[in-house]
């Protein structure tokens, strides 16, 4: 089974988010970049499925050269080859068009990615890719088994989950508990250095959205600590006016 895993290169979840250049750019100073946590779940499940089916994993990122260490980490976790589409990921539509263009020539049985990136949180790319290449897209997927040519999935819905059966090929936006995150071992790290990382040029796509400016939420006021529940109820009733 040929699996394509698309990953994002995003600030670590503990990062302090700030902007520069008149609030038009993320301040990357001191920010550590990681594989998106949801993408990391997708990759972990792909590694397990590869072991079950004697398959292969291509890991893909649409990004500039700075994302290569993140792709190498994915190789260390267990992907066989990495591809970087050499472009700034302008918006979800731009990224989806790049992924669709890349995947259509390569006949993947399964395309996995995170349910959403943790920078822009759109959760849109998997659905867009599915529509662009004409295969089903399912998200957010919390369990994924492949039996022959069929996928058996559970998808989280509000208040529970639903069970889905769908033939390959399809695309899934993944989330926990689909698999445990995998930490690369020394052998993986060593072998990642020699696995292929190919750089491809993007196709021309006009993005449909553009960010004019960023802003931070207003600072939170100081917490009011009270001694007992009566004082708390009083605050909720008379200060917040929500009881």
């Amino acid at each position: 089974m040929k699996i394509l895993v698309c990953i994002t290169h995003v600030p670590d979840t503990t990062s302090k988010i700030q902007f520069i250049d008149n609030n038009t750019q993320l301040d990357k100073n001191g920010v550590q970049f990681i594989i998106g946590p949801y993408d990391d779940y997708a990759l972990a499940r792909a590694v397990e499925l590869k072991a079950e089916s004697n398959g292969s994993i291509t890991v893909l990122n649409v990004g500039e050269a700075e994302t290569e260490p993140t792709l190498r980490k994915a190789l260390a976790i267990g992907a066989d080859e990495a591809v970087r589409i050499n472009a700034f990921p302008k918006d979800a539509y731009f990224v989806a068009k790049q992924i669709a263009n890349f995947s259509k020539d390569n006949g993947y049985d399964l395309i996995l990615m995170g349910r959403e990136s943790i920078d822009f949180n759109g959760g849109m790319v998997h659905g867009m890719v599915g529509e662009l290449i004409g295969i089903p897209s399912i998200s957010p997927v919390m369990k994924l088994e492949i039996e022959g040519s069929k996928g058996k999935l559970s998808r989280e819905i509000e208040g529970g989950k639903e069970f889905i059966e769908v033939d390959l090929p399809f695309i899934a936006g993944c989330q926990e508990p689909i698999a445990e995150w995998k930490i690369p071992n020394m052998r993986g790290i060593m072998s990642a250095r020699t696995k292929p990382l190919t750089v491809k040029e993007p196709v021309d796509v006009v993005a449909q959205t553009v960010v004019n400016s960023y802003e931070l939420p207003p600072a939170k006021g100081a917490v009011k600590i009270v001694d007992n529940v009566d004082q708390l109820v009083d605050l909720l009733k008379n200060d917040a006016k929500i009881l």
Binding site: G122, I164, V211, L216, L232, L236, A240
Partner: protein, 321 residues
């Protein structure tokens, strides 16, 4: 001009996030001089529609195809695309949800529309179409311009008041065919908590953390939640340990909530948990550790033992009613 709003139902009732989307669309329609068309799919009880008119709909369309009772992503996308064209809409508005996100993405391609998700306010139309959205899991916002002619806005919960001063209007049944090819992904079953308030929809959320020591101690969380008509949530360790189901996990990699009131009990407040709750209007923290980081993100706090404080809080709230 025409706007289409896609609404979802839960247990026969229109979800409040969908009613919010209708009112948001009515606000946008006022700016554009547009008409608000609403589309509901599958079985929806006749009495449920009144609220849709009151929330600001000018026309309501209903495709009562029982196959759409389930959230079949391809089929819902196909139905919405057909109705979007039929009413000559230029903008699609929907509530961000498990199904809403999944269909919006496919529709962006089907309709060749510019899509913005996590929208937190009405657009600025003075120079194009610029809308504010939440990014970095609530840690920032982005003013985002849509250049495409057609637009899709996936609206975040609790950012726009639900109108109740509209008019109850007649529902127009739709005659549409959804091709079988849209049912290739088969929903074979579901597990869903019956009669519970849905966590992403809730106006009040009561969450418990590992400090509660075990799943057997969730009774007091349930009682407090019941007294407030609240949904129940939990921290990631609690869901990882299997004390509570994953759909109750609030946080960076779980459900992001935006209630009016979030009560965190025996949760220390790791940054990944805070990312799931930072859109809450008021946060109450109950924790026996005065140095718990959650207090810094809270509006109100009690330093105390949850086993002592929570039952008293439930009593005090019951006494109010």
């Amino acid at each position: 001009m025409s706007i289409l709003v896609y609404i979802e139902q839960d247990q026969g009732k229109i979800k409040s996030s969908s009613l919010e989307a209708v009112s948001y669309a009515a606000g946008l329609a006022e700016m554009q001089g547009a008409k608000v068309n609403v589309l509901g799919l599958g079985s929806i009880g006749s009495e449920a529609w009144d609220q849709v008119g009151l929330a600001g709909a000018n026309a309501i369309f209903h495709l009562e195809d029982k196959r759409l009772d389930q959230g079949v992503i391809l089929a819902h996308s196909d139905a919405i695309a057909q109705v979007f064209d039929r009413v000559g809409a230029s903008t699609l508005v929907l509530a961000k949800s498990s199904l809403g996100d999944a269909v919006a993405a496919r529709l962006a391609i089907k309709l060749d529309a510019g899509l913005v998700s996590n929208v937190v306010g009405l657009p600025d139309l003075t120079n194009g179409f610029v809308v504010k959205r939440s990014i970095f899991t609530g840690k920032a916002f982005a003013e985002t311009a849509i250049s495409a002619d057609k637009k899709i806005l996936a609206v975040k919960k609790n950012i726009y008041p639900i109108k109740t001063d509209g008019e109850v209007i007649k529902v127009e049944p739709l005659d549409l065919t959804i091709a079988d090819e849209n049912f290739v992904a088969k929903i074979t079953g579901a597990e869903k908590a019956e009669g519970e308030i849905l966590l992403p929809e809730a106006d009040v959320v009561v969450s418990g953390g590992r400090g509660l020591k075990g799943p057997e101690n969730w009774g007091m969380i349930e009682e407090l939640a019941d007294s407030l008509h609240a949904a129940k949530g939990c921290s990631k360790p609690v869901s990882d340990l299997g004390w509570r189901p994953h759909h109750e996990h609030v946080g960076q990699t779980g459900v992001k909530v935006a209630p009016t009131l979030y009560i965190a009990i025996a949760i220390s407040g790791a940054i990944q948990h805070l990312a799931g709750v930072n859109a809450s209007k008021y946060i109450v923290v109950i924790n026996n550790d005065p140095d718990a980081p959650f207090f810094k993100a809270a509006d109100y706090g009690i330093v105390g033992d949850a086993f002592d404080v929570v039952p008293k809080l439930t009593q005090a709230i019951k006494a109010l009613k």
